[in-house]
Point group: C2
Chain length 204, copies 2
Amino acid sequence: MAPPDQQPDTPRRRPGGRTSRIRTQVIDAVRAELAERGYDELTIDGVAARGGVHRATVYRRWRDVGGLLADVFAAAGDDDWQPPDTGSLEGDLTALNQESQDSMTAQPPLVMALFAASFRSEEAARGVRRLWEDRYIRCEAIVRRAVGRGELPEGTDARRLLVAATAPVYHHLVLLRTPPDPALPADAARTAVLAARAGAFVAG
Amino acid sequence: MAPPDQQPDTPRRRPGGRTSRIRTQVIDAVRAELAERGYDELTIDGVAARGGVHRATVYRRWRDVGGLLADVFAAAGDDDWQPPDTGSLEGDLTALNQESQDSMTAQPPLVMALFAASFRSEEAARGVRRLWEDRYIRCEAIVRRAVGRGELPEGTDARRLLVAATAPVYHHLVLLRTPPDPALPADAARTAVLAARAGAFVAG
């Protein structure tokens, strides 16, 4: 599901003035600090210094580390990410899982640092919840297209299918902490497709 | 998978002398401190005071918070837990998921506190990895019994089936942070059974 974008140094630049430029600098700095040094070392002063922004500006606009984290999650959801469109349900789910696995194993480990932060701060937990919700809603397009192609029955519950297809990848990397398994993205996708064809996600 | 036992106040008492009694007191104290106050407040002194054990003893034997956490995970795996045996694959997986969901939503939130700690400390991360591994190995009995009853083909990959069946429950509660869904334990079990019958977990 590629929760937050895994490339700390290439955020989307928006057209806009000084305010949006400062926000970009600050968010980039938070991501870089988190990825390289972790949540425990995250401070307003460190972010201001790294971002080249006056610390009074950062305190005024973001207040504290929680405010910074909340904005990192908000910015991550405020992009034009779209789920893969490969022409088949299994292809789309495999590509989606591969993207998630890549983002979770990228160096520096920004995505894992964001998961860790979400256990530390209520603002971060809310941010991660909203971001997941947004990502799963976007991914419903995968299921709609599959229904349109006749690959899935009408009435398939998109969310349940998407969670079944994606959960094993997160389970291994975030909870079980096993090394990345190159076969897992495709295996988990295929398993969900087989279950879907057997009617697992149709209500009733 | 009911990772660590969810009942901080009823660990297994072992026969044994003073050493094992002190270990029980200390581990109970760590669990209670974690569940009620969280990782950030966990200290050797707080654990010693709560457990009624001399702080020098705790320092000598466990050294630091990482050592205490490692022993909590070791103790959690050192029990006689067995997976549910209901007479059917779907029944066993549903009961297993229900047990996990109950342990993750129990108050005080010890299991969630242990997950959070596993993002903070390398010792805790290793501990949680070993505990999962132990639990999944014990759960292979569910798959063996189902193969024996003819519910599943020979050659079914037990681990892949078990991860598919259990991952959605953890995904919702630990990562997505959605409220517990009473239908999910059975839904996720049924989905995995349908996939298994369709051959999802047989190599080749």
